[in-house]
């Protein structure tokens, strides 16, 4: 029986060995690792992204004279005005720094680093975010009608061209992907409308229509995966490999929670919400184990929206900007109420807010962009995160 016992032991050992290490990998469940934990001595805020981080790229499009020259009545995707800063400027100001546009222009003509007209400010043009910009696709939202939409990939490349590398004294803030979400959502919505029309006309069975909708949604999600993994690769090879030390990556808030998202039918809104979540999942997967600070904007926005009043917002659903006023002000050229053309200076002839709107207590400027108060809250929340990393 000794051999029998040996056999049982061997059997037990081999079965126990079989139990170990078989838990499947769940993409997106990991975390970044190894970012600095000590304060930086920052001399520049370098930000890459889209309209949420745009500090005035398209100001010439809002020229009061209508010819691209100053003064401008808009230029940022928020409630514009003397106090109308966006979060990048707010974070920079809290560090005693200035962040100015890396490029300013519209409709084919643009100037790189206009702040360099004052040589003392030549190093401040490190706010690369542009409204409409995508991760790698140069054809961003509004590109066909004149917006520069330099994608994040080129924004990073442009910074490297100018400065050669990132410095330990750069606070690098990366927040992109919203426009990839919106572009792919619009494509999905168009496909869905077509599918539903065909189903209504009896050209598709219910199962066929469901399968077609599933395929359209999967295609949009696959595009999110691609864009997010591309952004993660840009962070790794474009920023970290080129000396980026204090690098914070911000994930996407839930686009379904914006006034635009709220205006959609529930099923479409869910698809939109899922697209930003899918982007976040793959961005997290692509940055797992990387030395970056991860700012969970989705969670921060959800937390704010769970109790807007607690965060100082009396209105978190209605855009502060008045689409009709902006329509009239731009001679009918801007009909969607874009906050790029929205000014909050009371008494000014180009005042663009709705009656009763307060840019500091209404969260949204337009369907997707935060007001001045919204940007203040974002800046504070992100600065709190940066402080929690130990960077400030």
């Amino acid at each position: 029986m000794t051999r029998f016992r040996q056999a049982l032991i061997l059997l037990t050992v081999s079965l126990l060995a079989a139990c170990g290490g078989s838990d499947p990998h769940v993409p997106g469940s990991g975390s970044p690792v190894g970012a600095p934990t000590t304060p930086g001595s920052f001399t520049a805020v370098v930000s890459f992204g889209d309209s949420l981080s745009d500090v005035g790229t398209y100001a010439p499009a809002t020229s009061l004279a209508g010819n691209g020259t100053a003064p401008y009545f808009g230029g940022k995707f928020t409630t514009n005005g003397a106090a109308g800063t966006v979060w990048v400027e707010n974070v920079a100001a809290s560090l005693g720094l200035l962040a100015t546009p890396a490029e300013v222009g519209f409709a084919g003509s643009s100037v790189a680093c206009p702040a360099a007209a004052n040589p003392a400010l030549a190093g401040t043009c490190t706010a690369y975010g542009q409204g409409g910009a995508r991760i790698t696709d140069p054809n961003g939202i509004g590109h066909a009608t004149g917006a520069l939409t330099v994608p994040v990939a080129s924004q990073i490349a442009n910074h490297l061209t100018r400065f050669g590398s990132f410095r330990d004294s750069d606070l690098v803030l990366i927040w992109g992907g919203n426009n990839d979400v919106f572009v792919k959502f619009e494509e999905f919505a168009a496909a869905a409308a077509q599918i539903q029309a065909e189903a209504t006309a009896g050209l598709l069975t219910a199962d066929q229509a469901n399968n077609a909708l599933y395929a359209a949604q999967t295609e949009a999600q696959a595009a999110m995966k691609q864009a997010a993994l591309e952004l993660a690769a840009l962070v790794r090879t474009g920023v970290l490999d080129n000396g980026g030390k204090y690098v914070a990556v911000v994930n996407l808030p839930d686009s379904g929670d914006t006034p635009f998202g709220q205006s959609l039918p529930a099923s479409a809104r869910q698809v939109l919400s899922d697209l930003s979540a899918v982007f976040n999942l793959w961005l997290a997967e692509g940055l797992t184990g990387q030395p970056v600070g991860w700012i969970d904007a989705r969670a921060l926005f959800k937390s704010l929206l769970a109790d807007p009043a607690g965060a100082g917002f009396g209105n978190a659903t209605v855009p502060a900007c008045d689409a009709e006023k902006i329509d009239a002000l731009t001679g009918g050229q801007v009909t969607d109420g874009s906050s790029l053309f929205c000014n909050a200076t009371v008494g000014a002839p180009y005042y663009g807010l709705r009656a009763g709107a307060d840019p500091s207590t209404w969260l949204y400027a337009d369907g997707v962009h935060p007001s001045t108060g919204g940007h203040a809250a974002i800046g504070n929340a992100f600065a709190t995160q940066l402080a929690a990393f130990g960077w400030l």
Binding site: M1, R3, F4, Q6, A7, L10, L11, S14, L15, A17, A18, C19, G21, S22, D23, P24, H25, V26, P27, G28, A206, D207, N210, N211, Y214, Q217, T218, E219, Q221, A222, M224, K225, V271, D274, A277, V278, L281
Partner: protein, 212 residues
């Protein structure tokens, strides 16, 4: 990991275990219907509609069993089969996705002890067994996800069967085996889906037995 090498080593040790007695080894060969009665905890993941689920199907395969009799009544047995391909179909709110949303081969050896009722030489001898089942899923395919991972499963197995002796060496057998096979599944494509499938398989087998 249980490699074929460790299984082979185990079998080799079993083959030489104990003292040599007349006809203390039994080999069974037969055809088996691997049926599943799956339950899941639902499918979770971004973009998954509420009520999405899957259900696994059945498969037919060939099995081989080797038993070493330790006493006239008690044996230790290893059962293996040609890994059947188990297909899953979409159900619930995603039933429109249809059949074969994913499939996998289930490599599922069972080792256990078997108690034989009656006495050697009886024409009919019922038996019952209790063992451990180890299941590894291989050759996983899905038309919906580019990468599907399934967790290995270790669980109990219970068996009941009957042998009919044709002669001193040859006989026929029929058996029913129920097993505990549970696997966490992670399917990554455009998005990432997760589920835990409790397959609750019951294997019906029929075949020939040979003693030596």
């Amino acid at each position: 990991m249980t490699s074929p090498v460790t299984i082979a080593a185990t079998v080799a040790v079993l083959l030489t275990a104990g003292h040599a007695a007349a006809q203390s080894n039994v080999v069974k060969f037969g055809v088996a219907q691997y049926t599943t009665n799956s339950r899941t905890n639902g499918i979770s993941g971004i973009g998954v509609p509420p009520g999405a689920d899957v259900e696994t199907g059945d498969a037919t395969t060939l099995i081989l069993e080797y038993e070493r009799l330790l006493t006239p009544h008690l044996g230790i047995e290893l059962a293996i089969g040609i890994p059947p391909r188990i297909e899953a179909r979409a159900t619930g709110s995603v039933a429109f996705l249809g059949d074969d949303v994913f499939s996998a081969r289930s490599v599922s050896p069972v080792v256990g002890l078997t108690w034989h009722f009656g006495e050697p030489g009886d024409k009919w001898r019922p038996y019952a067994g209790l063992g451990v089942n180890y299941t590894k899923f291989t050759d996983i395919e899905s038309r919906l996800a580019s990468d599907v991972d399934m967790e290995d499963s270790v669980g109990w197995a219970v068996k009941a069967g009957v042998e009919y002796a044709i002669g001193p060496r040859w006989g026929l057998f029929a058996s029913v085996t129920a097993m505990d096979v549970k696997s966490k599944i992670v399917a990554s494509g455009a998005t990432v889906l997760q589920s835990t499938i409790d397959f609750r398989p019951v294997v019906y087998a029929l075949g020939a037995a040979y003693r030596f």
